[in-house]
């Protein structure tokens, strides 16, 4: 599904800064992968590269066998709205639109039929439990509802791959758990490939595999067995090996 091939990212400037060096990994269809690492390790940079928001300095990224770095702007736009879905820490909903309108935005841009959009939006809202707030504006809803809206927006066009950047970062623990359970369900039911960048060991424990990076390089990876609790413990252990103590890493990135 995703093939990250020897990518490096160097930020030019007075002092060139190497954010990522020779990152190499693959994600199979239907996998749910978490990326973890201390602040400044390059997690978000990596996600941005895969999300086609940024371009790598060297190396290639293949999604479904397509080299996303060679796509033209319009191709890329079409690719984003058909194949990719994004979830952000700060939701990034458009405050000019209602919840429902936010959800159907990718389809709108693709020129879908209104009836089809309505039907899809209703279905996904039902699944995520946000049917009652469909006509509200974004400032009238809570953080958890906003993130569920964002998930609905990311899922409505049934993307092949869902990318999430700290999806639980701005949420309380109850909402965070709800969101992660939803993602897990979607992953299980629709076989959507997911990649998640997070600081939060609890969130990461919902993944099937966690990749750790440090200082822009791959550090290690661990797989989840049957027990989420044991996986959580393994994550904590790896994090403490990664740098200092487990409680160094807060659940909310500031």
């Amino acid at each position: 599904m995703l093939n990250v091939n020897q990518i490096s990212k160097i930020y030019e400037g007075k002092i060139a800064y190497k954010a990522l060096s020779d990152i190499h990994f693959t994600i199979e269809d239907g996998e749910f992968v978490g990326i973890m690492g201390p602040s400044g390790s390059g997690k978000t940079t990596l996600l941005n590269l895969i999300a086609t928001i940024d371009e790598p300095t060297s190396g290639q990224i293949l999604i479904n066998g397509q080299n996303i770095n060679q796509m033209k702007k319009n191709e890329l736009a079409r690719f984003r709205r058909r194949e990719l879905g994004f979830i952000f820490q700060d939701f990034n909903l458009l405050h000019t639109l209602t919840v429902q309108e936010n959800i159907v935005l990718p389809l709108t841009l693709d020129g879908s039929k209104v009836s089809e959009m309505k039907q899809k939006a209703a279905a996904i809202a039902e699944k995520l439990g946000i049917t009652s707030i469909m006509d509200k504006r974004t400032y009238e809803i809570s953080g958890g509802q906003a993130q569920r809206t964002a998930i609905a927006r990311a899922m409505i066009h049934s993307p092949k791959m869902l990318l999430a950047d700290e999806p639980t970062g701005n949420l309380d623990s109850k909402s965070a758990r709800d969101v992660m359970e939803m993602l897990e369900n979607i992953n299980r039911e629709q076989q959507t490939t997911m990649m998640l960048v997070t600081h939060d060991p609890v969130a990461a424990s919902y993944c099937s595999r966690v990749i750790f990076i440090r200082d822009g390089q791959l550090y290690s990876e661990i797989h989840r067995g049957d027990n989420r609790q044991a996986f959580f413990q393994k994550i904590i252990d790896t994090l403490s090996l990664l740098g200092g103590h487990s409680n160094d890493i807060s659940s909310i990135r500031l």
Partner: protein, 625 residues
């Protein structure tokens, strides 16, 4: 939700964001439209007023149009800049560059349509008031009635439809999507602190100093020659002032920790230095635009004052009538004048005086020479200063002030007696156009037989009494004002006519000046509001550290003061120098006029500042709570 609905909702539900852009567009339409109402007014278009005025109006209208184009373009681009993040987000959702352009285009058409409509409606509402003002300033006989300006509406609609379509096309092709990451990070990206060089900073002082010195030292027509080079020097100087010297000063202040680390100074200065790059261009633009508007209005106003003052100064009577000895119609003319005076019930005391001409330098030319007692008799009647002559002294009287000290004082002999004026006096008491010599009575008696003489009749009285304009009009139509053998002047009527034609120019100048000035204010407004989100965020986090409301007010107050007054003060200085040069050129004092014009502008800016500050501080404070 179709794409079109999406674009519409985006505008309709986000009114505050679009308000500034919409209002400035609407304002531009309104200005153009009200001007068009004038230009197409049946009374003006019908040829009742002279062609110059009509031509001037038409040119001014299209100048406003061209200016509108750039103004809307600027508003638009600064408006789009604040929306970078939104564009990035939409592209993340899969919006193609084509769709982005399409959206911006649609938005612009919506806003443009509403602005055109709003501008026309607002223009119609104010039309009557503006027509009244115009009538007063233009001194038009009859009244500028309100009419339904079909043609003006059509022209405005068409002109602005074209303008908005052109700008939308232009902008959307310029709207390079760039890298997505830059769009999404938008204003979060660290901006580099601008650098300043000491040499260029010092060059500012040299350039502006040179420009000012040159223009202040210019005398007479030198000013015309110097106009272009001085404008260029001062423009470059002002540009460097804002891009180099200001940055240099801020950096110097920042390096002084005793100052920089003192209370809120740190907040203020660190922001200033980072924003200076964006600010500098706006400041320069505002400074130049305001200078142009000060100079335009100041010089027109000054010129008008000079002209009316000259006409009034040169002839202090209700009516004057100079009759040559060859005038055979004298008694008829006198009878007509008296009859018209009586008809309009004008209060005026008639006096007559003989003006004598002598052959000079052995008949080479003739020169008006009168005795000091003859002069003083007229001067007393018209309440002008009397002349006291020392023994043997001669004075030359010049009716016009403009070339007072350029006139060479000739030494000459009249009938063999040497007459050399010792000084020049500006006075219109004698009502003639030529320079006249006033000599002591004893010398006058020795001059002997004059070569010719003119009979001067004057009616002295209040120049502002009612009926004088009607009487003047009647006199000028019944009698020829100026022939070979006589000349009749009704100064009050002349001044009124002058006011009429200068009034038109003044009106156009005022209009354009105000347009420039208000748009300069809008530039500042846009600049300030593009920083609003950043300020909100900044003060939100600082407030958590403990920032009292008075401290917040103080920082914001200083920040806005600098933004609003730095360019205006420089522009006021430029304007003051330019008006002084103008005054020097015409050799009149325009101090009062300059002070009035510059003072009014300063006052408007002050009011504008107070309003903007109130809302800005309110907005930032709302973010803190």
């Amino acid at each position: 939700m179709t794409f079109r609905q999406f674009a519409y909702n985006n505008v309709a539900r986000n009114k505050r964001l679009y308000a500034a852009y919409f209002l400035s567009s609407m304002f531009t339409v309104m200005v153009f439209f009200t001007f068009a109402i004038f230009a197409y007014h049946p009374l003006l278009a019908g040829g009742q007023i002279n062609h110059n005025v009509q031509g001037g109006m038409s040119t001014a209208k299209w100048m406003i149009y061209v200016f509108s184009f750039f103004f809307v373009l600027y508003s638009m681009s600064s408006f789009l800049k604040t929306r970078k993040r939104e564009f990035g987000l939409l592209m993340m959702q899969g919006m193609s560059p084509g769709q982005l352009r399409q959206m911006v285009f649609l938005e612009n058409i919506i806003i443009g349509f509403a602005a055109t409509l709003g501008g026309i409606v607002l223009g119609l509402v104010f039309a009557k008031a503006i027509l009244l003002a115009g009538e007063h300033i233009l001194v038009i006989e009859g009244s500028l009635d309100f009419y339904f300006p079909t043609r003006a509406i059509l022209v405005t609609c068409l002109a602005f439809f074209i303008l908005f379509v052109l700008i939308s096309l232009f902008i959307s092709s310029v709207l390079r999507s760039g890298k997505l990451i830059d769009l999404i990070k938008g204003s979060q990206q660290a901006r580099s602190e601008p650098k300043a060089s000491l040499v260029l900073s010092l060059l500012v002082l040299v350039l502006i100093g040179t420009g000012y010195t040159l223009s202040l030292l210019a005398r007479g027509s030198d000013a015309f020659i110097l106009l272009v080079p001085v404008s260029i020097i001062v423009s470059i100087g002002s540009y460097l002032l804002f891009t180099q010297l200001s940055v240099y000063i801020i950096r110097t202040l920042k390096s002084k920790e005793s100052f920089f680390w003192n209370r809120t100074n740190m907040l203020l200065l660190s922001d200033l230095s980072y924003r200076m790059k964006d600010n500098a261009r706006t400041f320069f633009l505002v400074c130049i635009v305001s200078t142009v508007s000060f100079c335009a209005i100041g010089s027109l106003y000054g010129l008008q004052t000079v002209v009316t003052r000259n006409v009034a100064l040169s002839n202090p009577y209700v009516i004057s009538f100079v009759s040559q000895s060859s005038d055979t119609d004298r008694s008829n003319t006198m009878a007509t004048i008296n009859q018209i005076l009586n008809k309009h019930d004008l209060q005026a005391a008639r006096t007559e005086q003989v003006l004598t001409e002598y052959n000079m330098e052995n008949d080479k030319y003739t020169q008006l020479i009168i005795s000091v007692s003859m002069y003083n008799q007229l001067a007393a009647l018209s309440k002008r200063p009397l002349i006291q002559l020392a023994t043997g002294e001669t004075v030359a009287i010049n009716p016009y002030s403009l070339e007072l000290d350029r006139l060479k004082l000739p030494s000459a002999t009249a009938n063999g007696i040497a007459v050399k004026p010792d000084r020049l006096i500006q006075s219109g008491v004698l009502t003639v156009d030529e320079v006249t010599f006033v000599v002591p009575d004893d010398i006058y008696d020795r001059l002997g037989q004059p070569a010719g003489q003119r009979q001067l009749y004057v009616w002295a009285g209040d120049q502002e009494q009612t009926g004088i304009l009607a009487a003047g009009k009647e006199i000028y139509s019944e009698l020829k004002p100026s022939t070979k053998s006589h000349r009749i002047t009704v100064p009050a009527y002349d001044v009124n006519q002058e006011l009429g034609s200068y009034g038109a120019i003044l009106f156009i100048g005022l209009f354009i000046g105000i347009v420039f000035f208000v748009s300069a204010g809008s530039f500042l407004y846009f600049r300030l509001y593009s920083d609003l989100d950043e300020d909100k965020q900044k003060f939100h986090s600082i407030a958590k550290l403990g920032l009292t409301i008075p401290e917040l007010n103080r920082v914001l107050n200083r920040q806005i003061i600098l933004l609003f007054f730095a360019p205006i003060v420089v522009a006021l200085l430029h304007g003051a120098v330019a008006l002084t040069t103008l005054a020097n050129m015409f050799q009149v004092s325009l101090f009062k006029e300059s002070l009035t014009v510059l003072g009014i502008f300063f006052l408007i800016q002050l009011i504008y500042f107070l309003i903007v500050r109130f809302f800005y501080i309110k907005q930032v404070r709302s973010a803190i709570r």
